[in-house]
Amino acid sequence: MIRNIFFSQIPLSFLFLVETFAAESGGMPQLNPEFWISQIFWLTITFGFLYIILSKLILPKISANLETRKSQIMENIESAEKQRKDSEEKIKEYDKIIQDSRIQAKNYFNQAREKILKDISEKREILDKDLSEEINKAELEIQDLKNKSPEKITKIAIETSNDLIKQLIGVEVNNSSISAIVEDLSKRNKKEYHGN
């Protein structure tokens, strides 16, 4: 493509040349050889000077600058890459630690729970046992009392009625007759109670 541009420019340049030839009247100063040697001389000096200074002093410096920048950037990228890897490893380690400690905590928790549950059930069993013993004992006592109470009540009733009779009419009544009456009454009461 560049070549095409060049080749299309050549005829264009000559077109311009023809135009300028027509326009000018005094001839081209470029073709006047008066200062040709002078121009060649000064061109050699200035261009030679420029070339020497550029190639010996300035261009190596620019090239070195570019190189150092490139290497510096490379170094920075490398160290950044290294740091990234380091941090990734650290994150992995950290994750592992967290995972481990979580598992450990779970284990501890489970153990503690089991222990507590075991304790509770043991204590409950003991308590249940104690309680049932107490209940049994109490029931036995109650049963005992229940069994004994009618006799005692009858006895009390007989004594009370004996005393009452003694107080009221001053007659000593035979204990056996009173007890027969009391027993008869209590039986009747019991019947009524049960009948209800």
């Binding site: 000559f14 135009e19 300028t20 200062f35 002078s38 070339y51 261009l59 570019l66 920048r69």
Partner: protein
């Protein structure tokens, strides 16, 4: 102001006449602008290479971008073997570019609008490239004129054409640059003259042309420097890597 559009190309002596025997080596306006261009290049690139900071300042960026631009141009067209000639091509590119650009400032002199200057540069490149070619390949460099895969009957004709095209390289290289610069500057001068002669009523059209031409000429100034440098690279490529 001179009305002749060719007057801007006139070379005149500045200061005393310097003569070496019968040869006139006087310092002229052309010499002045060669010196100014060279010094400007050296100052800019010296400033651009002085400090080496990781984040470049403006001057450093300018110098480094130019450096990578030229070095990429060389490696693209002539390969890695052309590395030792980098400084020369860089100098050529910068010299032509700065001479062209200084010529765009009004009342200055365009060094590259003189055929003798461009021809000297082109002839130097041509001779240098030919010498490099013969050093690298010996007489095998002459194979450049014998393209492969051409019928034997056509070979004499092709060889003659190749030799003529090779020998015309310095002429085409120098005339391209010289003609472009001269034509552009003459056109601008002509349009500038029209602005004056048509006055305040009719002068606006040529003035706008002049403005547009200035932009175009700045582009041409860069493009011609680039073309000059890239053709140097292509010729160097022929000498370094013999393809035919």
């Amino acid at each position: 102001m001179a009305t002749n559009p060719m007057n801007q190309f006139e070379v005149y002596r500045i200061g005393p006449e310097i003569k070496l025997g019968s040869i006139d080596l006087s310092f002229t306006n052309a010499s002045l602008f060669m010196v100014i261009s060279s010094i400007a290049i050296l100052v800019i690139f010296n400033l651009g290479s002085k400090k080496n900071s990781l984040i470049p300042n403006k001057m450093q960026l300018l110098a480094e971008l130019s450096y990578t631009f030229v070095s990429k141009m060389i490696s693209d067209t002539a390969g890695s073997k052309a590395k030792p000639y980098f400084a020369f091509i860089f100098s050529i590119f910068m010299f032509v570019l700065f001479c062209n650009m200084f010529g765009m400032i009004p009342y200055t002199f365009t060094v590259t609008s003189h055929i003798i200057v461009t021809f000297m540069l082109a002839a130097f490149i041509f001779i240098g490239v030919t010498i490099i070619g013969f050093i690298k390949h010996g007489l095998g460099y002459l194979k450049l004129f014998v393209p492969s895969g051409v019928p034997v009957v056509l070979l004499p004709l092709i060889v003659v054409i190749e030799i003529i095209s090779y020998l015309s390289r310095p002429i085409s290289l120098s005339v391209r640059l010289f003609a472009n610069m001269m034509a552009g500057h003459t056109m601008m001068k002509v349009f500038g003259g029209f602005v004056i002669s048509l006055g305040i009523i009719g002068g606006w059209l040529p003035l706008s042309f002049s403005v547009a031409l200035t932009g175009l000429e700045i582009l041409v100034a860069f493009l011609q420097a680039y073309v000059f440098a890239i053709l140097t690279c292509i010729y160097l490529n022929d000498a370094l890597n013999l393809h035919h």
